[in-house]
Each structure stands twice: as structure tokens, then as C-alpha cells.
Symmetry: C2
Subunit: 339 residues, 2 copies
């Protein structure tokens, strides 16, 4: 009991009403454009609002209207360029809508993810965007009965749940096909974590491209990573330690490609002169690696923006819709024709 009575603590709608000599309902009507109000009263209220620097208490508004004007975003890692680029799209998608977002992290863990979603629900978010979730589809569907959810990496499509799924198999195929066209015959693959659907699909795409070109799938050329830089470096070193022969490497994501690149540098192996390298994601930084990375572009920003717009549409009772651009090969400077 230390702080009460003093400076003009946040003024309330009631204060404004009093000062303007009208009823609270009139102030509310002006704020929301809910009904006609005579011009003189309107002026008086506007003046009072200005003078008192009044802004409606959103918690009170939310409680009354049953809308918090907030959406929840679940990422897995708040400091990964992968998620941050998507977040930028979300941010832009929210621009001018009056919605704000609270971002929580699931840390790649299904249980933590569910826990966080429960928190968001308790905070009465009006909808949820789930990025790269680990939860089962059924769990998502279940949560979506409480609040609409749009998720990446799933093929959902109900009245309150929508999924956007990229064709990872195809993307990986594109990458390896590019290498094969360049004349590469021995292509190593640094995979993603084995318990991951995206990672499995990328592996499948790698294999299909090989098989389609009647090239053998050599299990010794496939080494597991975990999507982080360090794992890419380790994987690369493993390849060398076991004396594999290859002229190109496809890393399941850009981050592990960065790690692989460093391992190569350490060995004094030139890229792309000695070895070609392809990543997956096209993170913002990949245009500035040395040399700039050839990769499969995921439209991260668009995914964020489009997912947000779709969610807003569901929240407004409209039909969910939206389409994201497909994956595409971006040829930069880490790949070249084999001599």
C-alpha cells in the first residue's frame, strides 16, 4: 500500500463522460461509432478525450466484447532467422488491424507447445498461429474448437483450423536435381533430425532425384544433422573421417549448410570449385554468405503474412483461404558444373 492518489493515473471513460457532461454510453458510442451523436456533444467528448489523454482500457473492452484483439503466435525458437522472417510477415499482416500478437516459444517440444497454447487460450487470444508445431494434428484440431488456429506444416482444413504445407519432398528433389544436372554423381546429404516430418520428406526428395537419374542411393553419404550449424559442421567432418567420395553436398537447411561450409573452409576445400553446396530455406543471411548460398527458397515472409490474413478472416467469420507460393531453387554461387 504505497501508491494511490497522485498524478492523473490513467483516465477512464467515466472521467471523460463527467468532464464532457455526458453519459458514459455517449462516450462509448463516439468511440465505437455505434450510434448517432449530436455534434456539440461529440465535440465536447473529443475535447475531453484529447485533454485527458484518454485511451480505452483494452482489458475492459475485451472482457465486455469477448474479443481481446490479440492473437497468439507459437514459434519454436524466438531467435532463429527461420521464425523471425515469418514473424515479420505476421507483423505486416497485422498492420492496421488493431490486433497485437503475443509470441511464445514451444522449443521444439510438443508438451511445452500444448502448455503454451493453453496459456494463450487463458489470455483469451482471438486466434492462434502455430509455426512448425510438434503436436499431433488431432491435438491442434482439439484446441481449434476453442479458438481458430492456422498452422504451418500441416494439411488441415476445417472451419476453425487451417494448415499450410510446403512440399518439402519436391524442394529437396529440386536441389538434388540441380546438382545432378551440373554433372554431380556423388551427392552427400546432411539430413534434419530423424523424428521430424519435414526432414523425412526432404530425405525422400533427395532419394527420388537420385533414383530418377539412375544413381545409387549410398547410405554412407547420408548423415544425420539436427538443422543447427554445429551439426552441419559435424556431419561434414564425419563424411571426411569415413573417407567418402563426393563432389556435392545437399544440406537439409541453410543453417546446417553454414556449418558444412565452415568445415569445408577448415579443410581448405574450396566452394564451389572443389565441392558444391546447396541449402534449404533461403534465410535472409544466405545472400551474404561467402560465397552466397545456392538454396531452396521457402517464402517465409509470405507464409507469415498469408497465415495471418487467413486467421483474421476466420476470426471475422469469413471462410478461411489463402495460398502460399511454392518452393523454388535459387541458384547463387555455391554450386558449379563438375569438371
Amino acid at each position: 500500500m504505497a501508491d494511490s492518489s497522485r498524478s492523473p493515473g490513467p483516465s477512464t471513460l467515466m472521467d471523460v463522460a463527467r468532464q464532457a457532461g455526458v453519459s458514459p454510453s455517449t462516450v462509448s458510442r463516439i468511440l465505437n461509432g455505434t450510434a448517432k451523436v449530436s455534434d456539440d456533444k461529440r465535440q465536447a467528448v473529443l475535447k475531453a478525450i484529447e485533454a485527458m489523454n484518454f485511451a480505452p482500457n483494452q482489458m475492459a473492452q475485451g472482457l465486455k466484447k469477448g474479443r481481446s484483439m490479440t492473437i497468439g503466435i507459437v514459434v519454436q525458437d524466438i531467435s532463429s532467422p527461420f521464425f523471425d522472417e515469418t514473424l515479420r510477415g505476421v507483423d505486416d499482416g497485422l498492420k492496421g488491424t488493431g490486433f497485437a500478437s503475443v509470441i511464445v516459444s514451444g522449443h521444439w517440444n510438443a508438451d511445452e507447445e500444448a502448455e503454451r497454447i493453453r496459456l494463450l487460450l487463458a489470455r483469451k487470444v482471438d486466434g492462434i498461429i502455430l509455426l512448425s508445431g510438434r503436436m499431433a494434428d488431432d491435438t491442434v484440431l482439439n484446441f481449434s474448437t476453442q479458438r481458430p488456429i492456422v498452422s504451418t506444416g500441416r494439411a488441415l482444413k476445417t472451419r476453425t483450423a487451417l494448415g499450410f504445407k510446403m512440399d518439402n519432398e519436391y524442394g529437396a528433389y529440386l536441389a538434388v536435381h540441380h546438382l545432378i544436372e551440373l554433372g554431380h554423381r556423388h551427392i552427400a546429404f546432411i539430413s534434419g533430425p530423424s523424428n521430424n516430418a519435414d526432414a523425412d520428406e526432404r530425405l525422400a526428395g533427395y532419394k527420388r532425384a537420385l533414383q530418377e537419374a539412375s544413381l545409387p542411393v549410398d547410405e554412407n553419404l547420408i548423415v544425420e544433422g539436427n538443422y543447427h550449424e554445429a551439426s552441419g559442421m559435424l556431419a561434414m567432418n564425419r563424411l571426411f573421417d569415413t573417407h567418402q567420395h563426393f563432389t556435392a553436398v545437399f544440406a537439409a537447411n541453410d543453417l546446417s549448410a553454414y556449418g558444412a561450409r565452415l568445415a569445408l573452409y577448415r579443410k581448405g576445400i574450396r566452394v564451389p570449385d572443389d565441392i558444391s553446396l546447396v541449402g534449404f530455406d533461403d534465410l535472409p543471411g544466405s545472400s551474404y554468405t561467402t560465397p552466397p548460398l545456392t538454396t531452396i527458397r521457402q517464402p517465409l515472409y509470405d507464409i507469415g503474412r498469408i497465415a495471418t490474413q487467413a486467421l483474421l478472416r476466420i476470426i471475422n467469420g469469413e471462410a478461411a483461404c489463402g495460398e502460399v507460393p511454392p518452393l523454388e531453387l535459387i541458384v547463387r554461387e555455391t554450386t558449379r558444373r563438375v569438371r
Copy 2:
């Protein structure tokens, strides 16, 4: 399925009270541990909560208690590794506190920043963390009468406002001093944007190191960048186009160092064999550039965590405090002794 014969929407504390045959206050007491409750009633309530899958409506709680359990974070760019690493610290600082954060972006613009802060205030956040704000200190102080604010890049210290300021001048001095010790005599500087306090300080540190070594400050070796990769690349090219002589480059931040690195690569100039390069920030990616970047480490993660803890302390009426580790030189592989 659990809920079939009840009002639509999430169950309320009132529902729980009814189901357990107690008064709402009793439920509230159990939820908040506000008073002793007999064991049988407690069990009944707990069972009802479980059965109805009840979670208190945070907007109602907030309205009543005058605490939203939310803090606002103002960043300038949601997809910059600089901010995201700090955000990770914030996230960890919030862990287990019951607070969530809503993140907004000021986009390096003082007006937008103030606007966003007003939004956060309307949302009744319990406190604000301002990262690299552009607003005047007075404006911050003014806002801080409504809600506590902790900000980076300022030396504030009042009962409701706290600033953490890194010694940029010193950091830059460290970088250039390192280069000088390595025998470099002609050191170019790619600065930050000219209207930026941090940037000015880093420039000052660059000059001081030079002067201290009785080396001339050659204005032709100073070219303005804007902290982004592209500007680093452009700046580097400008240096070449005007035929400057230098053996080392100090970039005012890592991102522009990345750009400079690419420009060097394009010219076929080796790093560090031909030219040494130093950055500033030590972004997470800087350990994986080719070669790994020598840089001045800012404890981004710690700043986020410590700022958060300080804010929480102020919110709880305790005295603001906290100290962040100083800047330090991280020698990696982009610098070497001049031949």
C-alpha cells in the same frame, strides 16, 4: 466428451463454483491461495476445475487486479538477429513468472515508436522494455510515469525508468586497438547511420584508438553505412572505387561486416590474408561466417534477460537494479598480423 450440457464457450469460475457447490470466492481463494479452505471443498473444486477444464479468464483477472501479467517489448526490427538474440534473453527472463510479452516494432522511427508504446499502454501492459529506441530520453521518462520502462542504450535511472548503456566508444576502441597491435596502420571504418548515437560513439572510439597510436585519422577511410549488409558491401566498393589504401576494415556492426566480406570476396581479396576485418555485436551467425568473424561481443542475450529481471523487479515495487557484462573483443579468424 466433457462439455455437452453447458453454456457455450469456456467455463467460468462461476460454473466451477456451482458444480462444486461452493461460492465463487472459495474457488478464487483456492486459485490464488489467498486464504485457507477446508480440504473437502478444495478437493471438490479441484475436481470441478479438472472436469470442466477451467482456466481463469486473464482479462477479467487483469481488469480486477489492475495487472495484466503482460509486458510490452519494443524492438526496431522483428527479424534482425540483433533483436532476436535479445528477445531470447527476455523470453528466458520471463520464464516461470506468469508474464507474457507482446512484441511490437518501432521500425527505427521515433514517432512509430511512441505510437506503439501508446498501444501497449492501452493494453495495460505492466511494464515496457525498449530496445534501441529512437525517442528522446524525456519522452521515455514521460511514458515511464504511466508504466515502468527499462531501455537499452540510455543512462536513465529513476524509480520507474532504468537504462542499460553499453560503452560503444570503448568497444570500437578495442576493435581498432586490436588491429593496430597486429601492425595495421591504414584502417578503414564502415560507420553506422549518422543520426545514431551508438554509431557516433563507435566512430569516436575508432578515432581515439588511432590517435592514441599517433596514427592519422584519414576521412577518406571513413565511409558511412547504415548497419545493413548491403550498405557494408557498398561502402567497401566505395573504398575501392576511390582507390584508398588500407590493410584492415572495422565495420560498425556485424551485418555490415558481412556485406563488406562479400564485396571483398567478389574482388578476389582474401580475408584475413590480404585484408583484416572486424565487426561489432557478435551475432550468433558470426561464429559461422567464412572465415569466422573477429568482432566485439555485445552480451545481447544477457541484456535481454537482465533488462527483464530489472523490469520485473520494478513492477514488484522493488528497487531497480542490474548490471550487464562489458563489451569484449572476440578474436576469431578474420584478422591477422600485417606482413
